[in-house]
């Protein structure tokens, strides 16, 4: 189970990669493996605003649709359009293929997330 260092992680298996006042958000390797073959990704619009823990995307496997939750509040400034034509990219590399880029509302919210070490421990306990 791949866990990248230097990222923040949520209980729902999303990751956040901070770059100044902006961040990339995606789903973890654990999440993509659990979902199975991903066949569809629903992306939000640019300028959509979300509160912490709002559902901002839906990732679908053949069998089911799963909400993806934003670990920190923010406004969407970019979406990964490659996922529209090739949703399986999330299976190929869950860290390389981000879902959205957001402008962070409140960087203090990052303190409520897990570090990569904490997430690794979390996976050991949960899995």
């Amino acid at each position: 189970m791949k866990v990248l260092k230097g990222l923040y992680y949520s209980n729902d298996h999303e990751w956040v990669k901070v770059e100044g006042d902006e961040a990339f958000v995606g789903i973890t390797d654990f999440a993509q493996e659990h979902l199975g073959d991903i066949v569809y990704v629903e992306l939000p619009e640019i300028d959509d605003e979300f509160a912490k823990e709002d559902s901002f995307s839906v990732v679908e496997s053949v069998k089911a649709a799963s909400d993806v939750y934003l670990p920190v509040s923010g406004k969407v400034i970019a979406v990964n359009e490659a996922l529209e034509d090739d949703p399986a990219l999330l299976n190929t590399d869950a860290y390389e293929n981000w879902i959205v880029k957001i402008a962070l509302n409140d960087k203090a919210e990052l303190d409520e997330l897990m570090t990569s070490e904490e997430y690794e421990k979390f996976l050991e306990e949960e899995a």
Partner: protein, 365 residues
């Protein structure tokens, strides 16, 4: 109540199956992955544990007459070793279950029913027995069953038996076939749209057959296949799933299965009067196939609208692994079921455009 294990439970665990509770049974949704398993069945061979299915026998001199009275299809038309697909209905035409009737001989019928309905079916049959001279037995707990499906299914199974499988035609059965030393009843039937066999044996024997088939199928690329691809395969093949395309509320005519409802067969059957009435008056609702034009995947339960008015709902929807299209079945007000009709599917509060297409999703060679 804890979920039940089939005789093959330990094998699923050994194979790394993702086991879930399905209708009170512990069965794998998938082993390697839904899509590879689905593709294995379409292109090579897959093996399913279907031991959870129910088996009910009807024996006695009135066996055919009794079962013909219970069923929409004409049970008097099949010969020894032949199988017929049929619905068993309530007086209002709603479906108790869809099932297969295997005719062993005139006095011995073997019914294979949905796992989720087996207790209900058995109770219903006992209730309807009346003065028919028959003995009805629910033997589900003592029968194990597997399904071997795909273009290489016959080649795989033939390696394990001296019996010439070419002798078993489509929708025919053969009893006492020895498969790798195990006495089995086999039928050329299935729920995938591919060629294949269903194999019945006792609980101990089915484990041996399962492992023998997995070994024999290795050279063809056999995969153990779970409940996940079982549903995508049957959906693509236009086969109904009880509770979705047919149910206590959705009758077989609405589902588009009139071929299996012999409205003018000689014998009476439960629901005959009501179904005849609905047919002659014209059905108010019908099942239609549809394809999404906009982005998204339609899922069962989603509402269908036309010009902002609700006209029906999705009964099954998928991103079809074989066709690679987002398609589905929907129960709609009849006036909207012509091919080409444009519809709106409500997907999580978004309106997504769709159009009615033929329910025959797979084009067979």
């Amino acid at each position: 109540m804890t979920a039940k294990k089939t005789p093959l439970y330990d094998e699923h665990v050994k194979l790394g199956g993702n086991v879930v509770d399905y209708a009170g049974w512990l069965l794998p949704v998938q082993y390697t992955g839904l899509i590879p398993e689905h593709e294995a069945v379409r292109n090579a061979v897959g093996i399913f544990d279907v031991s959870h299915m129910g088996e009910i026998t009807v024996r006695g001199k009135d066996a055919v007459a009794f079962v013909d009275y219970l069923m929409t299809n004409d049970i008097t038309k099949i010969v020894d070793n032949q199988i017929i697909y049929t619905f068993m209905c309530y007086p209002d035409g709603g479906v108790v279950d869809d099932l297969l009737v295997y005719r062993y001989d005139n006095d011995y019928l073997y019914l294979v029913v949905n796992a989720s309905n087996s207790d209900k079916d058995y109770a219903w049959m006992l209730e309807q027995k009346g003065n028919f001279d028959v003995k009805i037995e629910n033997i589900s707990d003592s029968v194990g069953e597997i399904a071997i499906q795909g273009p290489m299914a016959q080649k795989t199974l033939q390696k394990l038996t001296d019996f010439d499988l070419n002798k078993v035609g489509f929708f025919y059965l053969q009893r006492d076939v020895i498969i790798d030393g195990v006495n089995c009843m086999i039928s050329r039937t299935g729920y995938t749209g591919e060629d294949g066999f269903e194999v019945y044996a006792d609980n101990e024997g089915i484990v041996k057959v399962w492992n023998s088939v997995l070994e024999a199928g290795k050279e063809f690329g056999i995969l153990p296949a779970g409940l996940g691809c079982r549903d995508t395969l049957r959906f693509e093949a236009s086969l109904p799933l009880y509770g979705h395309e047919i149910s206590e509320e959705i009758n077989p005519l609405e589902g588009g299965f009139k071929y299996f409802v012999k409205l003018d067969k000689a014998g009476d059957f439960i629901g005959k009067e009501e179904l005849n009435k609905q047919w002659s008056e014209g059905l108010k609702r019908k099942l239609a196939g549809f394809e999404l034009i906009g982005r998204g995947i339609a899922r069962e339960g989603m509402e269908i609208q036309k010009d902002g008015v609700a006209i029906g709902h999705v009964t099954t929807g998928y991103m079809s692994p074989t066709l690679k299209k987002t398609i589905g079945n929907a129960l709609l007000a009849s006036e909207f079921t012509d091919i080409g009709t444009e519809l709106d599917v409500i997907i999580r509060n978004k309106t997504v455009k769709a159009k009615v297409i033929s329910k025959r999703f797979l084009k067979r060679k």
